[in-house]
Amino acid sequence: MFNPQILNMIGWGILETLYMTLISTIMAYLFGLPLGIALVVTDQGGIYPMKHLNTVLGTIINLLRSVPFLILLILVFPITQFVTGTTIGPNATVVPLVIGAAPFIARLVESSLKEVDKGIIEAAESMGASPIKIIYKVMIPEARPSLIIGSAIAVTTILSYSAMAGIVAGGGLGDIAIRYGLYRYQTDIMLVTVIMLVIIVQVLQEIGMRLAKIGDKRK
């Protein structure tokens, strides 16, 4: 039953899953990181308080985060179609993954940056550092270990989201699991894809934790 054809398919599935996950993570950070920084900076006790902007950003993030990913996947079909020209396959799945993960990443970044000691930020202010300099010379370097752990959480969450996209023929291991496991009752193939997913999550999580530890200069 595990003929070369099936193995080949699973191999492609792994690559597609990794491709979707990594591209989506990078793109989601492109939006989520600045958004998270903006949340912290414009907060009432932040280094550049802007109450209204903060409220608007917070509300948009909460709205997006409250939509279950499976629904979001279908809800953004028009956008997906517009951006990629299709609604199936790994490229199409990147669109809802980015939209779904960016607000989640913004919250992760926000909580990492809020861990930075207020005293350290005040010290930087007392040295005449502008808000921009405080962001990239104090807040981000000081929060680095926590930001890396956050990115490990983000990447594994995006991986599990990508598997969900299998329900709309989104490609990758999730797609295989649903086609063979759900529609054809070939549970052995489904089991293999699940094991593959578990291994990928473990590896990514471990890499993230180790990177965070190596970079951390606090004991």
Partner: protein, 338 residues
């Protein structure tokens, strides 16, 4: 004090915060003048407003009302860029040191220079110089988590001095340190003041810190300045209740002792460590109880204060005070201590 020029002038400064119970004034019409080259202390109980006061000097807190002048310039008229530049001429150190935990000691000291746009090699050279001045060159490559409290504060001092400031603001800089380390850090501050002529503003709740390094002191109480003057004058003759409360020890002995008259003796370094008290007891053949003593022997001279309870006999008590005066000590009667 070298010069008599005013470097920082605070006029009618008021700062209010919105609290849970409505508006609350952390500073209420504060006026102060800090002279160039002096070590100026601000002492008060916690919540008296002293931390807010020091933050209004470099505008980490924006005053609600009133004006702060630095070298004659009204700080509130500064543009953002001018304010950043002005902050570089006022270093600041904190109770919790506030070092960058993910940067080495050397990079911590380089940090204010990098922000000011100094190139990397110049900054590193200057940082090394400063680290040797504060006596921790060997820790240049260490990280703050590997340092003791005293070492951390030395790094913070080096960092605060990196941009050649005219003023160093110290916010409870020794409150997290043990007494021996405190003395070392205070000696360093005094040395910096003498050698570099930097004006130092010290915020503390400990009278010892004020006594050890300050020239003049302001007593803060309930968001206001209660008293300003030379440390020696205020310590020997406090005029206000707030000053008295900070100078006199907190915990009072409970009754059961003869006599209600007490005498506070101040040792300000003018008297040597000769056994005056023992001599007095032998001369009068009358015992006195020592209710409180906080003394230090610095280079053979006595610093500190002592409170003794005088005998019930009024005449003897009067004579005893006279005896102490004759011996060159500052002694005054304190009432209501027991």
């Amino acid at each position: 004090m070298d010069g008599e020029n005013t470097i920082i002038k605070i006029e009618n400064l008021t700062k209010t915060f919105m609290g849970a119970q409505g508006e609350f004034a952390a500073l209420d019409s504060v006026n102060l003048e800090i002279k160039q080259g002096e070590i100026f202390g601000v002492i008060g109980m916690s919540g008296a407003g002293k931390s807010t006061l020091v933050r209004c000097i470099n505008f980490l807190e924006k005053p609600t009302q009133g004006t702060v002048y630095f070298n004659g310039k009204d700080i509130s008229l500064c543009t953002k860029k001018e304010l950043y530049a002005l902050r570089r001429s006022m270093g600041m150190i904190f109770q919790q040191f506030n070092l960058l935990m993910q940067s080495s000691v050397l990079n911590n000291v380089c940090f204010p220079l990098t922000i000011a746009g100094v190139d990397k090699s110049t900054a590193r050279g200057r940082a090394k110089e400063l680290l040797s001045m504060v006596g921790i060159s060997e820790k240049a490559d260490a990280y703050p988590s590997q340092l003791s409290g005293g070492q951390s504060q030395r790094v913070a001092i080096a960092r605060a001095l990196a941009t050649n400031p005219q003023v160093l603001l110290c916010d409870e800089a020794t409150s997290a340190l043990d007494p021996a380390t405190t003395r070392g850090v205070l000696a360093l501050l005094k040395d910096i003041n003498k050698r570099l002529g930097i004006t130092i503003v010290v915020i503390t709740h400990e009278m010892r810190v004020i006594q050890e390094i300050c020239d003049r002191v302001a007593i803060m109480d309930d968001s206001k300045i209660a008293e300003v003057g030379f440390v020696k004058d205020i310590f020997t003759k406090p005029k206000t209740k707030a000053a008295r409360r900070l100078i006199l020890p907190e915990d009072r002995p409970m009754g059961g002792m003869p006599g209600k008259r007490c005498c506070r003796i101040v040792f300000d370094g003018n008297s040597t460590y000769e056994p005056i008290l023992a001599g007095m007891i032998l001369d009068f053949r009358m015992p006195v109880s020592i209710l409180f003593a906080d003394m230090e022997n610095i280079e053979g001279k006595a610093f500190g204060q002592m409170i003794i309870q005088l005998p019930e006999n009024e005449e003897v008590a009067d004579k005893m005070i006279e005896y102490l005066h004759l011996k060159g000590l500052t002694a005054e009667e304190v009432f209501g201590y027991v």
